[in-house]
Amino acid sequence: MPNEVDARGLSCPQPVLLTLQIIQSSVGKEDICILVDNQASFENVSRAATAKGWTVAAVDQNNEEYRITLHKG
């Protein structure tokens, strides 16, 4: 999937950096998926995306992994 970022295993501030990069490069209304593997990264990614006007549309938690779906607007 082109609009997916795998930030698992990456420490601060990488997950947020990658999220903001894909947000900046996104065109149209397509959703973005971010994969992280800890609650702190989930919080950081959600906070950063919300600040950019995106909403957390869905969060799928599987064991310690989070798939965060971000929706524009």
Binding site: P13, V16, A51
Partner: protein, 361 residues
């Protein structure tokens, strides 16, 4: 999705304020002035306590540090966030820990103490803060250009337990070989008879406050370096608001307790060489930024099972020993005989690590 109140705006501000208040309380209860909580200083004292360096005025096994790790460990267990992991350039992190401590000891304090020194009216800390800001800013330039130490992978439970167990062991030693009045040695441990190492709250108060800070910081992800990094890199005020809350609470507490003494000369455990206060924290700030967390955050992460953060903390303890043994650490009289060399080499090491880990385009 379960919500974590501590990671909200109100949560991080509350945590910063409470930590600032607790630090001032520790000073009131006999911790050194403007050093209620200083992760670098306390790890340096631990290095002295177990004889890794023999600077007589800075030897004491600080229970606050053990409390930080064990508090974060118990909290992570409780909230199911304990996750053994590591393997993201461990030796690089160790070296960054060594360098961070060397830089911090040229200034005489970590980012936590920068804030506490400012809160106590120590004008020299303004240069330390500017240096810290500069170092973190330099770190963000590396991040913008693809700096990355690589991914962590899951590790065996034992790997995640080791640093909490080391801290438990140190705590046991502190309790078994308790300080003896007028004695510089108790069993295998070394104690200061004067100087900052001799100034400490009782072991149970230090431990209790350490555990509480460990809990608060684990939940809120409080990080003094991250506060500046996120501000510079993302224009994000979240962690920064916690740092400001710490400063404000500590300053109000100091004024209330008569501990606020504005000025430059005669400040406790501080020297007045502006350029080296600045440069020391540039090195430390850059090292903390490249390692992804302030010294406190590294301890809290190690409590969560992050063995890379644990290695960074052990690097800091090693750095403290080297600093004092090699005459690189400052004293209230000024920088050490090899402080200048320490800053230059430390900066070169950080820059080398930074450039060496840029993503190849």
């Amino acid at each position: 999705m379960k919500q974590n109140w501590f990671s909200s705006k109100a949560g991080i501000i509350t945590v910063g304020g409470v930590i600032g208040g607790l630090a001032i309380l520790l000073q009131y209860l006999s911790n050194p002035a403007n050093m209620g909580i200083c992760v670098a200083c306390f790890e340096r004292d631990i290095a002295g306590g177990i004889g890794l360096h023999r600077a007589p005025v800075v030897q004491y096994l600080r229970p606050e540090i053990m409390g930080f790790v064990l508090g974060a460990f118990l909290t992570a267990l409780l909230f199911k966030e304990f996750k053994p992991r590591g393997g993201s350039s461990p030796l690089v992190r160790y070296v960054l820990g060594v360098v961070a401590m060397i830089g911090a000891l040229v200034f005489l304090g970590c980012p936590w103490r920068v804030m506490l020194r400012l809160a106590g009216g120590d004008g020299n800390a303004i240069f330390g803060f500017l240096g810290l800001f500069g170092g973190v800013w330099a770190g963000t330039l590396f991040f913008k250009n693809g700096y990355n130490l690589g991914r962590t992978t899951g590790q065996n439970t034992v790997a995640g337990l080791l640093l909490p167990l080391i801290m438990l062991g140190l705590l046991a030693l502190r309790l078994i070989f308790a300080p003896v009045e007028g004695q510089a040695q108790s069993g295998i441990l070394w104690y200061s008879l004067k100087g900052p190492g001799a100034a400490h709250a009782t072991v149970f108060i230090s431990l209790l406050i350490g555990l509480l800070v460990g809990f608060l910081a684990q939940r809120s992800r409080f990080c003094t370096m991250g506060a500046l990094r996120d501000l510079i890199l993302f224009r994000q005020l979240h962690l920064f608001s916690g740092l400001v809350a710490l400063l404000v609470a500590a300053m109000v507490g100091n004024i209330f307790l008569g501990q606020f003494k504005p000025g430059f000369t005669g400040q406790p455990v501080a020297h007045t060489q502006e350029i080296w206060n600045f440069a020391g924290m540039v090195v430390a700030g850059l090292a903390f930024a490249l390692a992804g967390g302030c010294p406190g955050r590294q301890l809290f992460l190690s409590g969560e099972g992050d063995s890379d953060a644990g290695i960074f903390a052990l690097g800091m303890i090693t750095g403290a020993a080297i600093s004092h043994n090699f005459g690189m650490a400052s004293s209230p009289d000024g920088i050490g005989p090899h402080g200048v060399a320490a800053v230059i080499i430390g900066l070169l090491v950080c820059i080398g690590i930074g450039f060496g880990h840029l993503k190849r385009s």
